[in-house]
């Protein structure tokens, strides 16, 4: 068991001496302990080897590897205060800079340190967590084959180290949790380190210590998604003069800033914000891809049900309560689509349960039913029977409410009720075909619905805008590629109403206009045109007129008018980002 030591400055140039492992270890131990007695030569040599880490010649690499291995054997002699220069040198080393052998030795040293003394645990875990991300110069190379290879090398060793440490120090994962959360790169970090960091967090979730740290990791990832999501403000997207050409605007403003002390701050801020907005959108897209792929791998491994529970909890806590979450809810949507029988139904049932329970706060219930409506309408993978049973639940609840509240219209006092009605209408509009095809459903749902709508509470008058909580961002190519196959677009539902129109030949010109508008909107929706979002009151007279025709067969104008009228004022349903942004399809 010999080890060839490279050229030692003390020895003859031609001599190559073989030392055993234990001899080297004791040599290192001596170097460490000699510091106590004031002799720092060998110790300084050691520290020197640690620091000398760039552009290493092969024999220097061998020396480094040997030294690291020896240190691993000598950890009991390392003192945290006495040898702080050595320790700081070790902890500042990055695994990304070295080949597999040195990396192995370094990881071995870190693990030995971590388990030898509680004082080093945090430092060692911190060092490993900092190795989630490569040094700045390496970030660009990540996409290259060599970069990918190095990435695989480093990350596999890092995660294996976590497992080893957890085996010997059972409470280590608890410390790790805190460190990983605190170490998350901040949103505006220029070098996209967050992508690879989140990748590591997801690896932790599915890894060997996943049971201990997994759910916290997942929730932290969703938290970050929401943060980014909310950064992308609708206002930045909907500015009318966005199409002016943001780059031109920016250049102008830059000149302004150079020339004058006080540039037009408003304009500059907009373009800065829009640029930053775009980069954030791109980042969010990439993170969503990571999350979607992770969910797919969970599904393949049969773990999706468990992971879904965590997602649901996270959804309830953060996504549902976030004011204008636009994309993050698709994470749950996608998970549901991967497993419609269990997850898909569970999500809807949970939302419905939330809605009907009095004990929950109003805003939660309203938000919950809005999400439910959007989900039931948009999810292609849900069965018609399930949707109808959910709808029936809503209708029954609303009817019950009507029967127990014999009062007049009052939008503020009965907000939960009105949001429930709104939800029912929304789902009906999208899924009308389903119900028209099955007479039994029609009687089960439409009869009670008629009662509700005719009630004193007058839900239709107070329902203003219907907007989708699962908006389709055609600009977001990532969302499109993952979600598109399972998403019910308005254009798919349109034919239901077009059929209805064909039957009606004696409608007045006003209907023609509305149909035209209607058709136009659908074209618009599928094109990349920015639309402003109108809030308009539903015209009650028109509805009354339609209601009178309700007794006639479904293909008649009721089906058409109800849906058509209902949708027209509200510009169903998408918010589109203008096509001038760099990521346009």
């Amino acid at each position: 068991m010999g080890l060839e030591l490279p050229k030692n400055p003390d020895m003859d140039q031609d001599n190559v001496v073989n030392f055993t492992d234990s001899e080297i270890v004791s040599h290192v131990k001596d170097a460490l302990t000699s510091l106590l007695s004031g002799d720092s030569n060998s110790y300084n040599q050691l520290v020197g080897v640690m620091h000398h880490s760039k552009q290493l010649a092969p024999d220097e690499v061998a020396l480094l590897e040997t030294t690291l291995k020896a240190l691993a054997g000598a950890v009991s002699c390392i003192d945290i205060t006495l040898h702080d220069s050595l320790l700081s040198a070790i902890f500042s080393m990055s695994l990304w800079n070295y080949g597999p052998h040195v990396a192995d030795a370094l990881v071995e040293l870190i693990v030995s340190l971590a388990i030898s003394n509680g004082k080093y645990l945090d430092l060692c875990l911190g060092m490993l967590v900092s190795n989630f991300t490569p040094p700045p110069y390496f970030l660009d190379k990540l996409k290259l084959p060599r970069g990918l290879e190095r990435k695989g090398q480093v990350l596999s060793r890092v995660h294996a180290a976590f497992k080893k440490i957890a085996d010997y120090v059972p409470l280590a994962p608890l410390r790790l949790l805190t460190m990983v959360q605190q170490g998350m790169p901040t949103v505006y970090h220029k070098d996209r380190a967050i992508l690879i960091y989140v990748e590591n967090m997801l690896t932790l979730e599915s890894g060997e210590i996943g049971e201990l740290v997994g759910s916290t990791m997942l929730m932290a990832v969703v938290d970050r998604l929401i943060e980014l999501d909310l950064e992308i403000g609708w206002d930045a997207i909907l500015q009318d003069d966005f199409s002016k050409g943001i780059f031109e605007m920016e250049l102008e403003d830059l000149e302004d800033i150079v020339d004058s002390a006080e540039p037009d701050i408003g304009e500059f801020r907009l373009s800065r914000k829009s640029l930053a907005g775009n980069s954030i959108a791109e980042l969010l897209d990439n993170l969503l891809v990571l999350t979607f792929e992770h969910l797919e791998s969970c599904e393949r491994a049969g773990r999706l049900a468990k992971v879904f529970e965590t997602l649901l909890r996270s959804f309830l806590l953060t996504v549902m309560t976030a004011y204008k979450s636009k994309f993050t809810q698709f994470v749950v949507f996608y998970a549901c689509s991967l497993d419609p029988e269990n997850c898909g139904m569970r999500f809807a049932i949970m939302l419905a349960d939330l809605f009907v329970q009095d004990s929950h706060p109003q805003s939660t219930r309203m938000s919950s039913v809005a999400y439910l409506a959007s989900y039931l309408s948009r999810a292609k993978f849900l069965s018609a029977s399930f949707i109808s049973s959910m709808l029936k639940r809503l209708v029954d609840w609303c009817l019950e409410y009507c029967n127990t509240h014999d009062v007049d219209i009052n939008p503020n006092a009965h907000r939960v009720f009105y949001s429930g009605c709104q939800a029912i209408m929304y789902v009906l509009c999208f899924r009308m075909k389903v119900f028209m095809d099955v007479p039994r459903l029609k009687s089960q749902l439409l009869m009670p619905l008629e009662q509700i709508l005719k009630h004193k509470l007058n839900p239709l008058k107070s329902i203003s805008n219907i907007h989708s909580i699962f908006p389709v961002q055609s600009q977001s190519s990532i969302i499109n590629s993952f979600i598109r196959p399972m998403f019910v677009f308005w254009s798919m539902v349109k034919p239901t109403y077009e059929d209805a129109y064909d039957d009606e030949n004696d409608d007045g010109s006003s209907d023609d206009d509305s149909i035209q508008d209607f058709a136009n909107e659908n074209e618009d929706i599928m094109n990349d045109v920015g639309k402003s979002f109108d809030e308009q009151q539903l015209d009650l007279d028109e509805f009354d007129c339609a209601l009178k025709k309700m007794s006639i067969t479904p293909k008649n104008s009721f089906g058409y008018k109800f849906g058509g009228r209902f949708q027209e004022p509200t510009r169903m349903p998408s918010r589109i980002r203008p096509s001038t942004s760099p990521e346009s399809l």
């Binding site: 009991s76 030898s116 010997y168 120090v169 059972p170 608890l174 004990s359």
Partner: protein, 153 residues
């Protein structure tokens, strides 16, 4: 094994007003969050607890957030090893330099080479690392063995 003790404690747990609808859940949560951590007040690591809520009424603290304090009586299982106590644990790792032990499934300890009795010799047999006693042939320490050791610090 020394170091384990049961203590009776009178506690007051302060809860956020949002928890007022599910008080017992909040109390259990609060106590659970301090499990397996060293607690100054208790003088040891909390391993387990058994709680009785004393009073239906709780005092509300004045201040920015009206936290309310609930009085409890609790039975606590504490672990507070001191020097010169004998502890038992399971060996998880052996090397020439050290023996790593896990006590009660959560606490890790290390016995360095200089603290291992002279009679034990480090050997590798059939790819298995072990410490064998020179005087008693059958006395062997391997991974998975339960050992008793003295606490140094």
């Amino acid at each position: 094994m020394e170091g384990l003790s049961v203590a009776d404690a009178d506690l007051v747990v302060y809860l956020h007003p949002s928890k007022s609808s599910k008080v017992s859940q909040a109390i259990l949560r609060e106590l659970s969050s301090s499990l397996f951590k060293f607690n100054e007040a208790f003088g040891g690591v909390l391993l387990a607890y058994d709680v009785n809520i004393l009073d239906k009424q709780a005092k509300i603290l004045s201040g920015v957030h009206p936290y309310f304090g609930v009085r409890l009586k609790a039975n606590l299982l504490l672990f507070s090893p001191k020097s010169d106590m004998l502890l038992e644990g399971k060996v998880v790792k052996l090397s020439q330099e050290s023996i790593h032990v896990i006590i009660l499934g959560f606490s890790s300890a290390i016995i360095t080479a200089e603290n291992i009795r002279r009679e034990f010799k480090y050997k590798t047999k059939d790819n298995e690392e072990l410490f064998a006693s020179r005087s008693h042939k059958r006395h062997v320490i391997k991974v998975g063995t339960m050992i008793r050791f003295l606490v140094k610090r």
